[in-house]
């Protein structure tokens, strides 16, 4: 999936990936896509929850060996 920006959260545990995602999304423009790479399994549940609460759109989560790639589109 193509993204406008990428965030490396490998090695970080909750709540840091969510915190970093929120910070990065804040700097981006509406409609842009952020790729978050994380290896803490919690991100599989936390990224969708974060999107539901903040209203940003979850485009998908790709599982690779040892890492998850989360794609979020900034809503507003």
């Amino acid at each position: 999936m193509k993204a406008d920006a990428s965030l490396d959260c490998v090695g970080l545990y909750c709540p840091m990936p969510i915190y970093q995602t929120a910070k990065k999304i804040n700097e981006m423009k509406t409609g842009q896509v952020l790729e978050v790479i994380a290896d803490d399994e919690g991100i599989k549940a936390d990224a969708p929850a974060w999107c539901r609460i903040t209203g940003n759109e979850l485009l998908g989560i790709e599982e690779e060996t040892g890492a998850y790639k989360v794609y979020v589109r900034k809503a507003k």
Binding site: Y13, C14, P15, M16, Y19, A22, W50, I53, T54
Partner: protein, 158 residues
């Protein structure tokens, strides 16, 4: 309208404070308005690490000597082992790239989390406003907490 979250930090142990700040930072990252009320032993979390703690009266002086506080002085609630356990926990945290309590306090403050210190405990224990880190936004009592808690759905006692 932003969702409101209130946390009461009653405990003065590092692990418990970390749990509270973990939730606070998470909530702030979810776009929520977070207020943490520090009371009783929890005041130790937001005391400055440097400088003497001034207080009047023998009992208060004794208490503040034994209960100095400051984010770097907090013990672990379990396996503290005169500091050995805390040292090991600190090492594990650094290995996991997890922020220290100091860093968590700075991150939470930067994310807009409000810190409120309980004036009742301060008065009883003889702790002055100068004893606290500058990140503390206000000094208040139970009515302020209840008003905030009443506006939100998420309220925790740590």
């Amino acid at each position: 309208m932003k969702e409101k979250v209130t946390l009461i930090v009653f405990s003065g142990e590092m692990d418990k404070a970390l749990a509270a700040f973990n939730i606070a930072l998470g909530a702030a990252s979810m776009g929520m308005e977070v207020t943490i009320f520090f009371t009783f032993w929890g005041l130790n979390v937001i005391k400055k690490n440097q400088g003497p703690l001034k207080s009047r009266g023998v009992m208060r002086k004794m208490l503040n000597f034994m209960n100095r506080g400051g984010s770097k002085r907090l013990p672990l609630s379990r396996f503290h082992m005169f500091g050995l356990g805390k040292w090991m926990m600190g090492k594990l945290m650094r290995n996991a790239k997890f922020p220290s309590l100091d860093e968590m306090i700075a991150l939470a403050h930067g994310a807009g989390v409000k810190f409120v210190a309980c004036t009742t405990t301060m008065g009883m224990m003889g702790v002055s406003k100068e004893a606290f880190i500058p990140e503390v936004d206000s000094f208040a009592g139970v009515a302020t907490y209840l008003e905030k808690a009443n506006e939100g759905k998420i309220n925790l006692f740590v």
